[in-house]
């Protein structure tokens, strides 16, 4: 048996032992301990990949490495346990299915009583008794067996680690290169950022997460936990909030009748090269200069990065389309989609001229430049302090920057963006905020799913209440069982929702726009959120108000979890303040180019529909 650990280089600190934490590490450990058990002749060894083989005390290495591996395995155990239990409950649920357990035995017993206990009917009684009690016996046996199996695996892993013979250091070229990068870069954060983006090319993608968390930790203002109240023990460099305008002269456009508005030709290799905000900014500025956009600097971050907006089109037009992205640094497809849209204007498509004469389009590629560079999530506290990955013990105090748009306490950058929208755009008529749901654990649920649209348009209170009632978790076993009946049957049953959400929402005129956008994405051969994913989202989570209420394929509105608590995300704020038809998009784990193009197609569909271009022309 063998295990693999890493000796990861850090800046001005000793190297650290690291074991990447992946979902199902526990199962892998179980597999390995199984192999170890069956091959009794082989001793157990941990291979420690290191930048350089160094002299170290054998016992020290053994204790530390095995401790670390066991910690990682047990961290995953709860997750595996939960998944296994959910899996089991589903299967066992099939045995206990309402109709099998209650309806059929009752019908059978009635039949038996009515016709007398003779012949076949006595077997019906036996069957009913078996269903009521017999199967329960098996269900309990299965449950017990699976629990025991799980315990056995755990014991097996622990036993294997008792046989740990040695920790063998092995030199890895990639780690050596990482150490060089870190040593040759002066600034700590910069060193970790460089290391983060080098990991994949060096064949060590599993270390990206280490550096993605490592860089923000160096930046945090809260370095030590305090019990009473927050003390910012490291003053943050100040940011600047001042709106500055800069115009670029209009460039020459190349005609391309093959495209409508946006270009769908992307290069996966080039997209992969845009890793930091600097890379993105260079590309965005190049596109802006090429097509003569107006650049507006809204805010300068403490690190000196500018948060810019770019305007193109007719400034006197009624239709003002705001496309923003990059609020969450871990979601690169949004900023890259905005870049792709901006670059598309270097060519003149079939509807480019018409779209730019009848509207003004405002692009905001990235709200959180540092986050984009560090692939980090940013949160803000009540005093407006921003932190990337706030420390665990403070997580309650910090809120997602996308959740505070309607609050009085906001991050300074969001206040600057809001001021710009209020004063300069005045009244956006169509708004997009591009997001993603990706990450190791999110991928387990959503990998392969297409774009999801979370929409903000006026919904009469009565319709919203009806929509929420359809998602309310039914109380009691009978109601729960009945609620699972397919809609086609359910619509004919008394006392159950007759009207599906789709029909309730279809009466609202703004509904059409979202429908057109989703259709546009499908027409382009890209994925939309549908099928099994849609059904998963439709199902209410037990004991929890839903965050989203779905009403059509790949489309949803904010659910009671956000709406009733008055949590306003960017698009909700846009709708509340300006009655903008606003859309938050979510893409999921797919190839980066697919995610980028899904966003591009969604926005293109919206612009074409709103400005009545092409097939939507009157």
């Amino acid at each position: 048996m063998r295990w693999l650990a890493y000796r990861v280089p850090r800046k001005n600190k000793p190297d650290i032992f690291y074991i990447p934490y992946e979902p199902f590490t526990f199962l892998e450990a179980a597999g390995r301990s199984y192999i170890h058990e069956t091959r009794k002749d082989e001793s157990f060894e941990v291979q420690l990949l290191a930048p350089k083989i160094e002299d170290a005390d054998e016992d020290f290495l053994k204790n530390h490495v095995s401790g670390g591996i066991l910690d990682t395995i047990y961290r995953d155990e709860k997750f595996v346990n939960d998944t296994l239990m959910r899996l089991m409950t589903r299967y066992i649920g099939m045995l206990e299915y309402f109709w099998v357990k209650y309806v059929i035995p009752t019908a059978s017993l009635t039949w038996a009583v009515y016709y007398g206990f003779t012949g076949g009917t006595s077997f019906d009684v036996l069957f009913s008794a078996y269903l009521f009690k017999g199967r329960e016996f098996f269900v309990n046996r299965i449950r017990k067996e699976v629990n025991e199996y799980h315990e056995r695996i755990k014991r097996g892993i622990e036993w294997s680690f008792k046989d740990l013979a040695s920790v063998k250091q092995i030199e890895h070229r990639g780690l050596r290169r990482l150490r060089e990068i870190i040593e040759n870069t002066e600034d700590k954060t910069e060193a970790y950022v460089k290391a983060l983006h080098a990991c994949e090319e060096l064949g060590l993608p599993e270390l990206s997460e280490f550096y993605a968390i490592g860089a923000p930790i160096e930046e945090q203002t809260i370095q030590e936990p305090h019990l009473g109240f927050a003390l910012q023990n490291k003053l943050k460099e100040s940011s600047r909030k001042e709106i500055k305008r800069k115009s670029y002269p209009k460039g020459n456009l190349i005609k391309d009748q093959g495209m409508n508005l946006f270009d769908y030709k992307v290069s996966a290799k080039s997209l992969n090269k845009v890793k930091t905000f600097r890379d993105l900014d260079v590309e965005v500025k190049r596109a802006a200069k090429g097509i003569g956009m107006e650049e507006i600097t809204l805010f300068t971050t403490p690190k000196g990065y500018d948060i810019n907006a770019y305007e193109i089109g007719n400034p006197r037009a009624y239709e003002r389309i705001l496309i923003k992205a990059g609020m969450h640094g871990r979601e690169p497809a949004g900023p890259l989609a905005v870049l792709q849209m901006m670059k598309s204007f270097e060519k003149e498509g079939r509807y480019t001229d018409e779209a730019l004469s009848n509207s003004q389009i405002i692009f905001m590629p990235c709200d959180d430049p540092e986050g984009f560079t560090m692939r980090a999530w940013m949160a803000v506290d009540m005093e407006g302090h921003e932190e990337h990955w706030p420390p665990q013990e403070r997580i309650v105090r910090y809120r997602d920057t996308n959740g505070v748009w309607g609050d009085r306490a906001q991050s300074p950058r969001i206040i600057a963006i809001q001021e710009y929208i209020r004063k300069e755009i005045e009244k956006p008529t169509l708004g997009y905020d591009l997001h993603e749901t990706i990450g190791k654990f999110a991928d387990l649920v959503y990998k392969g799913a297409g774009i999801l649209s979370i929409e903000d348009f006026h919904i009469p209170e009565k319709t919203r209440q009806r929509l929420e009632s359809m998602h309310r978790r039914p109380e009691g076993r009978i109601a729960r069982a009945l609620s699972k009946i397919p809609f086609e049957i359910r619509r004919y049953l008394p006392f159950i929702d007759k009207e599906y959400a789709y029909h309730a929402m279809k009466k609202i005129p703004a509904f059409e726009l979202g429908e057109a956008m989703m259709q546009h994405v499908r027409d382009r051969g890209l994925k939309t959120y549908r099928g099994e994913y849609q059904k998963l989202l439709d199902q209410p989570t037990p004991g929890q108000a839903p965050q989203l209420l779905t009403f059509d394929e790949g489309r949803a509105v904010d659910g009671p979890l956000l709406y009733n608590l008055e949590i306003r995300v960017c698009t909700t704020w846009l709708h509340d303040e300006f009655e903008t038809l606003a859309y938050t998009t979510e893409t999921f784990q797919n190839a980066l180019d697919e995610r980028v193009l899904e966003q591009v197609a969604f926005v293109e569909g919206g612009i074409e529909k709103k400005l009545r271009l092409g097939r939507y022309a009157r």
């Binding site: 012949g119 199967r135 098996f138 064949g203 387990l444």
Partner: protein, 256 residues
Amino acid sequence: MVEILEVYAYVLPTIGSYSAYVDVDIDKHSKRYGKKPHRLRINVYSPEELDEGELARISYELKKEWGRYIIEREQARTFYKWFKILAPIEFLLLSGSIIMNFLIITPPTSYLRAGWDLFFWGLILGLTGIVPGIRSFRDKRREDRTKQLLKNWKGTEFAKGTDEEKRNKVNECRNYFSRVDGRKVDIYKRLKNYSQEIRFKPAYDLYEWKIKDLTEEESFFTKYLPASWRRKMKIFLFGVKVESPKVLAPVRSMDV
């Protein structure tokens, strides 16, 4: 005496970093060599030489994938084995019921009663007991074969691939990759076609699998915990297909 079996690993271009693909299918391998004790010698064909750390990574991935495969197989079957007892009980109850219908009740009522019993008990209970019971037997065979293989697999060693033709093909793939661009899935499609052109089966298999992985709309949850009743029922009756794993290890980018 432990026999040494030769298998091959190819370092092929993928977006981001390169991938070392170990061309061995555990199901086929266990069928052919599962019964004899052996060591695996992985002959590595790579455009550039791999260092010890990168080779360790390949060996780690092989063990990880094969180890996880056996646990997934075991888990998928753990509770199905109770159906082996559940199924005969239900079968006996059902046949007893039908026999009694014909012994005691006269036709045509006996036919009606038999129909009733078959429809309710037979379809619902028989299927949910008997089919998973049979499945449990089927899966046990595969599981045992894999267990036997893992018992007889006595370790892994690496060697540099010596076949000139294979080495050239790996280099050709790298050169071709440096010339293509576009969307990720299109790049893999072109690489797949190119591997077919140069008759390089392992590369063809790898890119075909990569394309499937990129295009399919399926996640762990939708596969194992589907929301639709049709899929739930299918999984309950026939189980989840535990696919034989592809062994892929990331190695450094070797772009030219």
